[in-house]
Symmetry: C2
Protein backbone atom coordinates (compact mmCIF):
# COMPACT_ATOMS: atom_id res chain seq x y z
CA UNK A 1 0.00 0.00 0.00
CA UNK A 2 1.37 3.32 -1.00
CA UNK A 3 0.89 6.22 1.35
CA UNK A 4 0.57 9.64 -0.12
CA UNK A 5 1.96 12.44 1.96
CA UNK A 6 0.81 15.91 1.19
CA UNK A 7 4.16 17.45 1.65
CA UNK A 8 4.71 21.13 1.27
CA UNK A 9 8.11 20.83 -0.20
CA UNK A 10 9.90 24.11 -0.27
CA UNK A 11 8.36 26.21 2.50
CA UNK A 12 10.94 25.62 5.17
CA UNK A 13 9.94 29.08 6.31
CA UNK A 14 6.24 29.95 6.29
CA UNK A 15 6.44 32.94 3.96
CA UNK A 16 8.04 33.20 0.55
CA UNK A 17 9.35 36.47 -0.89
CA UNK A 18 5.92 37.44 -2.22
CA UNK A 19 3.18 36.25 0.10
CA UNK A 20 -0.50 37.15 -0.31
CA UNK A 21 -0.39 39.93 2.30
CA UNK A 22 2.10 41.67 -0.05
CA UNK A 23 5.16 42.78 1.78
CA UNK A 24 5.76 46.45 2.26
CA UNK A 25 8.62 47.89 0.24
CA UNK A 26 10.74 48.99 3.17
CA UNK A 27 10.30 45.58 4.74
CA UNK A 28 11.51 43.88 1.57
CA UNK A 29 14.50 46.20 1.39
CA UNK A 30 15.43 45.44 4.97
CA UNK A 31 15.05 41.70 4.47
CA UNK A 32 17.51 41.78 1.61
CA UNK A 33 19.93 43.89 3.58
CA UNK A 34 19.69 41.51 6.52
CA UNK A 35 20.18 38.36 4.47
CA UNK A 36 23.16 39.82 2.68
CA UNK A 37 24.72 40.99 5.92
CA UNK A 38 24.08 37.63 7.54
CA UNK A 39 25.67 35.72 4.69
CA UNK A 40 28.68 38.01 4.80
CA UNK A 41 29.10 37.61 8.53
CA UNK A 42 28.79 33.84 8.36
CA UNK A 43 31.32 33.73 5.55
CA UNK A 44 33.72 35.95 7.46
CA UNK A 45 33.50 34.71 11.01
CA UNK A 46 31.42 31.53 10.93
CA UNK A 47 27.86 30.97 12.04
CA UNK A 48 28.71 30.53 15.71
CA UNK A 49 30.28 33.98 15.94
CA UNK A 50 27.26 35.78 14.51
CA UNK A 51 25.36 37.81 17.07
CA UNK A 52 22.04 39.47 16.50
CA UNK A 53 23.34 42.89 17.54
CA UNK A 54 26.23 42.56 15.15
CA UNK A 55 23.86 41.63 12.35
CA UNK A 56 21.50 44.53 13.08
CA UNK A 57 24.41 46.93 13.11
CA UNK A 58 25.94 45.60 9.89
CA UNK A 59 22.59 45.78 8.09
CA UNK A 60 21.91 49.30 9.42
CA UNK A 61 18.70 48.15 10.97
CA UNK A 62 17.25 48.09 14.45
CA UNK A 63 17.48 44.98 16.54
CA UNK A 64 13.72 44.70 16.74
CA UNK A 65 13.58 44.46 12.97
CA UNK A 66 15.88 41.47 12.96
CA UNK A 67 13.69 39.60 15.39
CA UNK A 68 10.43 40.52 13.69
CA UNK A 69 11.83 39.18 10.44
CA UNK A 70 13.27 35.91 11.70
CA UNK A 71 11.71 35.35 15.08
CA UNK A 72 14.91 34.13 16.66
CA UNK A 73 18.52 33.38 15.97
CA UNK A 74 17.53 29.84 15.07
CA UNK A 75 14.94 31.17 12.63
CA UNK A 76 17.58 33.26 10.90
CA UNK A 77 19.85 30.26 10.54
CA UNK A 78 16.91 28.26 9.18
CA UNK A 79 16.37 30.90 6.53
CA UNK A 80 20.02 30.89 5.57
CA UNK A 81 19.82 27.12 5.19
CA UNK A 82 16.58 26.99 3.27
CA UNK A 83 18.09 26.63 -0.18
CA UNK A 84 20.42 23.80 0.77
CA UNK A 85 17.63 22.20 2.74
CA UNK A 86 15.21 22.29 -0.17
CA UNK A 87 17.80 20.72 -2.42
CA UNK A 88 18.37 17.94 0.09
CA UNK A 89 14.63 17.33 0.34
CA UNK A 90 14.32 17.08 -3.41
CA UNK A 91 17.03 14.47 -3.50
CA UNK A 92 15.61 12.02 -1.02
CA UNK A 93 12.01 12.43 -2.13
CA UNK A 94 12.26 12.67 -5.90
CA UNK A 95 15.90 11.99 -6.68
CA UNK A 96 17.45 8.87 -8.17
CA UNK A 97 17.92 5.71 -6.10
CA UNK A 98 19.30 4.65 -3.75
CA UNK A 99 18.53 7.95 -2.00
CA UNK A 100 15.28 8.53 -3.85
CA UNK A 101 12.44 6.08 -4.46
CA UNK A 102 13.09 2.83 -6.26
CA UNK A 103 15.62 1.16 -3.97
CA UNK A 104 14.85 -1.19 -1.06
CA UNK A 105 14.20 0.48 2.28
CA UNK A 106 17.49 -0.60 3.83
CA UNK A 107 19.50 0.92 1.02
CA UNK A 108 17.47 4.09 1.06
CA UNK A 109 17.99 4.46 4.79
CA UNK A 110 21.72 3.96 4.45
CA UNK A 111 21.88 6.47 1.63
CA UNK A 112 19.81 8.96 3.60
CA UNK A 113 22.20 8.85 6.53
CA UNK A 114 25.26 9.14 4.34
CA UNK A 115 23.82 12.11 2.53
CA UNK A 116 22.75 13.71 5.77
CA UNK A 117 26.20 13.29 7.28
CA UNK A 118 27.77 14.84 4.20
CA UNK A 119 25.27 17.68 4.43
CA UNK A 120 26.22 18.31 8.03
CA UNK A 121 29.86 18.26 7.08
CA UNK A 122 29.08 21.13 4.71
CA UNK A 123 26.37 23.10 6.49
CA UNK A 124 26.73 21.77 10.00
CA UNK A 125 27.34 24.97 11.92
CA UNK A 126 24.28 26.59 10.42
CA UNK A 127 22.23 23.46 10.98
CA UNK A 128 23.31 23.21 14.58
CA UNK A 129 22.54 26.85 15.21
CA UNK A 130 19.18 26.44 13.52
CA UNK A 131 18.22 23.84 16.10
CA UNK A 132 19.53 25.77 19.09
CA UNK A 133 16.19 27.23 19.97
CA UNK A 134 14.63 27.08 23.42
CA UNK A 135 11.26 26.49 21.77
CA UNK A 136 10.74 24.50 18.57
CA UNK A 137 13.83 22.29 18.55
CA UNK A 138 12.68 19.03 16.98
CA UNK A 139 9.45 20.46 15.65
CA UNK A 140 10.80 22.41 12.71
CA UNK A 141 9.21 21.42 9.39
CA UNK A 142 12.33 19.81 7.91
CA UNK A 143 12.85 17.58 10.95
CA UNK A 144 9.27 16.42 10.76
CA UNK A 145 9.70 15.58 7.11
CA UNK A 146 12.84 13.54 7.74
CA UNK A 147 11.02 11.77 10.51
CA UNK A 148 8.11 10.81 8.31
CA UNK A 149 10.48 9.68 5.60
CA UNK A 150 12.50 7.41 7.86
CA UNK A 151 9.37 6.15 9.52
CA UNK A 152 8.04 5.10 6.15
CA UNK A 153 11.25 3.28 5.29
CA UNK A 154 11.22 1.48 8.62
CA UNK A 155 7.62 0.44 8.19
CA UNK A 156 8.50 -0.87 4.76
CA UNK A 157 11.33 -2.84 6.34
CA UNK A 158 9.04 -4.33 8.95
CA UNK A 159 10.56 -2.71 12.00
CA UNK A 160 8.31 -2.58 15.04
CA UNK A 161 7.37 0.89 16.32
CA UNK A 162 8.72 2.70 13.27
CA UNK A 163 7.85 6.09 14.70
CA UNK A 164 10.02 5.66 17.77
CA UNK A 165 12.81 3.97 15.87
CA UNK A 166 12.86 6.89 13.45
CA UNK A 167 13.39 9.20 16.43
CA UNK A 168 16.30 7.05 17.52
CA UNK A 169 17.91 7.20 14.11
CA UNK A 170 17.46 10.94 13.88
CA UNK A 171 19.23 11.29 17.22
CA UNK A 172 22.25 9.68 15.65
CA UNK A 173 22.12 12.14 12.75
CA UNK A 174 21.72 15.18 15.00
CA UNK A 175 24.00 17.98 13.74
CA UNK A 176 25.29 18.62 17.24
CA UNK A 177 26.50 15.05 17.57
CA UNK A 178 27.75 14.63 14.03
CA UNK A 179 29.66 17.89 14.16
CA UNK A 180 31.17 16.95 17.48
CA UNK A 181 32.48 13.74 15.96
CA UNK A 182 33.74 15.45 12.81
CA UNK A 183 35.26 18.59 14.27
CA UNK A 184 36.12 17.97 17.91
CA UNK A 185 36.89 14.28 17.86
CA UNK A 186 38.45 14.51 14.43
CA UNK A 187 36.56 11.56 12.98
CA UNK A 188 36.97 11.36 9.21
CA UNK A 189 33.85 11.88 7.13
CA UNK A 190 34.33 8.51 5.44
CA UNK A 191 34.64 6.67 8.71
CA UNK A 192 31.47 8.27 10.01
CA UNK A 193 29.57 7.27 6.90
CA UNK A 194 30.97 3.75 7.03
CA UNK A 195 29.92 3.51 10.66
CA UNK A 196 26.44 4.59 9.71
CA UNK A 197 26.34 2.03 6.92
CA UNK A 198 27.11 -0.76 9.30
CA UNK A 199 24.77 0.62 11.95
CA UNK A 200 21.76 1.05 9.70
CA UNK A 201 22.60 -2.11 7.80
CA UNK A 202 22.61 -4.22 10.96
CA UNK A 203 19.41 -2.61 12.11
CA UNK A 204 17.52 -3.53 8.96
CA UNK A 205 19.26 -6.84 8.28
CA UNK A 206 16.61 -9.46 7.71
CA UNK A 207 17.40 -12.65 9.62
CA UNK A 208 15.90 -14.61 6.73
CA UNK A 209 18.09 -12.89 4.15
CA UNK A 210 17.56 -14.45 0.77
CA UNK A 211 18.28 -12.01 -2.09
Amino acid sequence: MTRIFFVSLIPIRPEGPSGPPSERSDAARNRERLLEAARDLVAEHGADALTMDMLACRANVGKGTVFRRFGSRAGLMMTLLSDAEAEFQQLFIFGPPPLGPGAPAAERLIAFGEARIAYIDRNGELARAAEHSPHNRHEAPPAQLWHRHIEMLLREAGVGDPWLTASFLLSVLDPERVLYALRTQGVELGRLQAGWREFAGRLLARPDARD
Copy 2:
Protein backbone atom coordinates in the same frame (compact mmCIF):
# COMPACT_ATOMS: atom_id res chain seq x y z
CA MET B 1 41.62 -10.91 26.31
CA THR B 2 40.38 -9.00 29.26
CA ARG B 3 41.01 -5.30 29.33
CA ILE B 4 41.46 -3.68 32.67
CA PHE B 5 40.21 -0.16 32.90
CA PHE B 6 41.53 2.01 35.66
CA VAL B 7 38.28 3.66 36.38
CA SER B 8 37.99 6.35 38.99
CA LEU B 9 34.57 5.40 40.11
CA ILE B 10 33.04 7.99 42.31
CA PRO B 11 34.74 11.28 41.40
CA ILE B 12 32.15 12.68 39.07
CA ARG B 13 33.44 15.98 40.31
CA PRO B 14 37.22 16.42 40.72
CA GLU B 15 37.19 17.32 44.42
CA GLY B 16 35.56 15.49 47.28
CA PRO B 17 34.47 17.20 50.52
CA SER B 18 37.94 16.78 52.04
CA GLY B 19 40.63 17.20 49.42
CA PRO B 20 44.36 17.43 50.22
CA PRO B 21 44.46 21.25 50.04
CA SER B 22 41.99 21.19 53.02
CA GLU B 23 39.05 23.42 52.42
CA ARG B 24 38.73 26.60 54.41
CA SER B 25 35.92 26.63 56.95
CA ASP B 26 33.93 29.48 55.41
CA ALA B 27 34.20 27.80 52.04
CA ALA B 28 32.81 24.58 53.45
CA ARG B 29 29.97 26.43 55.12
CA ASN B 30 29.08 28.20 51.91
CA ARG B 31 29.20 24.99 49.92
CA GLU B 32 26.68 23.40 52.26
CA ARG B 33 24.46 26.45 52.13
CA LEU B 34 24.59 26.46 48.35
CA LEU B 35 23.84 22.78 47.96
CA GLU B 36 20.92 22.97 50.34
CA ALA B 37 19.53 26.04 48.62
CA ALA B 38 19.99 24.44 45.23
CA ARG B 39 18.18 21.26 46.26
CA ASP B 40 15.34 23.32 47.70
CA LEU B 41 14.98 25.39 44.58
CA VAL B 42 15.03 22.36 42.31
CA ALA B 43 12.41 20.67 44.48
CA GLU B 44 10.24 23.76 44.47
CA HIS B 45 10.46 25.04 40.92
CA GLY B 46 12.29 22.38 38.92
CA ALA B 47 15.84 22.41 37.63
CA ASP B 48 15.06 24.43 34.52
CA ALA B 49 13.76 27.35 36.55
CA LEU B 50 16.86 27.61 38.73
CA THR B 51 18.96 30.66 37.98
CA MET B 52 22.36 31.35 39.42
CA ASP B 53 21.31 34.74 40.80
CA MET B 54 18.35 33.16 42.51
CA LEU B 55 20.60 30.52 44.03
CA ALA B 56 23.17 33.04 45.24
CA CYS B 57 20.43 35.13 46.80
CA ARG B 58 18.75 32.17 48.49
CA ALA B 59 22.04 30.95 49.92
CA ASN B 60 23.01 34.47 51.10
CA VAL B 61 26.17 34.31 49.09
CA GLY B 62 27.70 36.38 46.32
CA LYS B 63 27.29 35.31 42.73
CA GLY B 64 31.02 34.97 42.29
CA THR B 65 31.07 32.40 45.07
CA VAL B 66 28.57 30.23 43.23
CA PHE B 67 30.68 30.19 40.11
CA ARG B 68 33.96 29.61 41.93
CA ARG B 69 32.39 26.60 43.61
CA PHE B 70 30.75 24.96 40.62
CA GLY B 71 32.34 26.57 37.60
CA SER B 72 29.10 26.82 35.69
CA ARG B 73 25.42 26.06 35.87
CA ALA B 74 26.14 22.69 34.30
CA GLY B 75 28.76 22.01 36.97
CA LEU B 76 26.24 22.71 39.69
CA MET B 77 23.75 20.33 38.14
CA MET B 78 26.49 17.73 37.86
CA THR B 79 27.18 18.05 41.56
CA LEU B 80 23.51 17.69 42.41
CA LEU B 81 23.42 14.53 40.32
CA SER B 82 26.61 12.99 41.62
CA ASP B 83 24.97 10.66 44.14
CA ALA B 84 22.44 9.25 41.70
CA GLU B 85 25.15 9.03 39.09
CA ALA B 86 27.52 7.10 41.34
CA GLU B 87 24.74 4.67 42.18
CA PHE B 88 24.04 4.12 38.49
CA GLN B 89 27.72 3.53 37.82
CA GLN B 90 27.91 0.94 40.58
CA LEU B 91 24.99 -0.93 39.10
CA PHE B 92 26.27 -1.38 35.59
CA ILE B 93 29.86 -2.02 36.61
CA PHE B 94 29.54 -4.17 39.71
CA GLY B 95 25.83 -4.91 39.99
CA PRO B 96 24.00 -8.15 39.23
CA PRO B 97 23.31 -9.26 35.65
CA PRO B 98 21.95 -8.52 33.20
CA LEU B 99 23.01 -4.92 33.90
CA GLY B 100 26.23 -5.87 35.60
CA PRO B 101 28.87 -8.38 34.46
CA GLY B 102 27.91 -11.98 33.84
CA ALA B 103 25.31 -11.63 31.09
CA PRO B 104 25.97 -11.70 27.32
CA ALA B 105 26.86 -8.37 25.76
CA ALA B 106 23.54 -7.97 23.98
CA GLU B 107 21.57 -8.39 27.17
CA ARG B 108 23.84 -6.05 29.07
CA LEU B 109 23.46 -3.40 26.40
CA ILE B 110 19.69 -3.71 26.46
CA ALA B 111 19.66 -3.52 30.24
CA PHE B 112 21.96 -0.52 30.18
CA GLY B 113 19.65 1.41 27.91
CA GLU B 114 16.56 0.51 29.86
CA ALA B 115 18.20 1.57 33.10
CA ARG B 116 19.46 4.76 31.54
CA ILE B 117 16.03 5.65 30.21
CA ALA B 118 14.49 5.04 33.62
CA TYR B 119 17.23 7.19 35.14
CA ILE B 120 16.42 10.01 32.76
CA ASP B 121 12.75 9.65 33.57
CA ARG B 122 13.69 10.33 37.18
CA ASN B 123 16.60 12.76 36.94
CA GLY B 124 16.26 13.96 33.42
CA GLU B 125 15.93 17.67 33.93
CA LEU B 126 19.05 17.76 36.04
CA ALA B 127 20.88 15.54 33.59
CA ARG B 128 19.89 17.69 30.65
CA ALA B 129 20.94 20.85 32.44
CA ALA B 130 24.22 19.19 33.40
CA GLU B 131 25.03 18.76 29.73
CA HIS B 132 23.97 22.22 28.65
CA SER B 133 27.43 23.65 28.79
CA PRO B 134 29.03 25.58 25.94
CA HIS B 135 32.34 23.85 26.78
CA ASN B 136 32.59 20.26 28.00
CA ARG B 137 29.37 18.76 26.72
CA HIS B 138 30.21 15.15 25.84
CA GLU B 139 33.49 15.18 27.70
CA ALA B 140 32.22 14.94 31.25
CA PRO B 141 33.66 11.98 33.18
CA PRO B 142 30.39 10.03 33.42
CA ALA B 143 29.76 10.23 29.67
CA GLN B 144 33.26 8.94 28.98
CA LEU B 145 32.66 6.03 31.31
CA TRP B 146 29.40 5.08 29.63
CA HIS B 147 31.13 5.30 26.33
CA ARG B 148 33.90 2.95 27.35
CA HIS B 149 31.37 0.58 28.82
CA ILE B 150 29.24 0.38 25.69
CA GLU B 151 32.32 0.22 23.53
CA MET B 152 33.46 -2.82 25.48
CA LEU B 153 30.10 -4.53 25.09
CA LEU B 154 30.07 -3.85 21.36
CA ARG B 155 33.57 -5.20 20.96
CA GLU B 156 32.49 -8.31 22.83
CA ALA B 157 29.56 -8.61 20.44
CA GLY B 158 31.79 -8.31 17.42
CA VAL B 159 30.51 -5.02 16.10
CA GLY B 160 32.83 -3.19 13.73
CA ASP B 161 34.08 0.23 14.88
CA PRO B 162 32.80 -0.18 18.43
CA TRP B 163 33.94 3.29 19.41
CA LEU B 164 31.85 5.03 16.81
CA THR B 165 28.88 2.75 17.31
CA ALA B 166 28.99 3.51 21.02
CA SER B 167 28.73 7.20 20.15
CA PHE B 168 25.69 6.45 18.04
CA LEU B 169 23.99 4.56 20.84
CA LEU B 170 24.74 7.29 23.35
CA SER B 171 23.09 9.78 21.01
CA VAL B 172 19.91 7.79 21.31
CA LEU B 173 20.16 7.87 25.11
CA ASP B 174 20.85 11.60 25.24
CA PRO B 175 18.78 13.17 28.04
CA GLU B 176 17.64 15.95 25.76
CA ARG B 177 16.15 13.48 23.30
CA VAL B 178 14.77 11.03 25.82
CA LEU B 179 13.13 13.80 27.82
CA TYR B 180 11.66 15.26 24.69
CA ALA B 181 10.04 11.93 23.89
CA LEU B 182 8.83 11.38 27.44
CA ARG B 183 7.62 14.86 28.33
CA THR B 184 6.81 16.72 25.13
CA GLN B 185 5.76 13.89 22.86
CA GLY B 186 4.13 12.04 25.72
CA VAL B 187 5.73 8.68 24.94
CA GLU B 188 5.20 6.20 27.77
CA LEU B 189 8.29 5.05 29.64
CA GLY B 190 7.49 1.42 28.86
CA ARG B 191 7.15 2.07 25.16
CA LEU B 192 10.45 3.87 25.07
CA GLN B 193 12.19 1.01 26.82
CA ALA B 194 10.52 -1.54 24.56
CA GLY B 195 11.65 0.48 21.56
CA TRP B 196 15.19 0.45 22.87
CA ARG B 197 15.01 -3.31 23.45
CA GLU B 198 14.10 -3.91 19.86
CA PHE B 199 16.59 -1.37 18.60
CA ALA B 200 19.57 -2.68 20.54
CA GLY B 201 18.42 -6.25 20.07
CA ARG B 202 18.36 -5.92 16.29
CA LEU B 203 21.69 -4.20 16.30
CA LEU B 204 23.42 -7.03 18.14
CA ALA B 205 21.43 -9.88 16.66
CA ARG B 206 23.89 -12.45 15.40
CA PRO B 207 22.96 -13.70 11.93
CA ASP B 208 24.35 -17.11 12.90
CA ALA B 209 22.26 -17.30 16.06
CA ARG B 210 22.62 -20.73 17.59
CA ASP B 211 22.03 -20.70 21.33
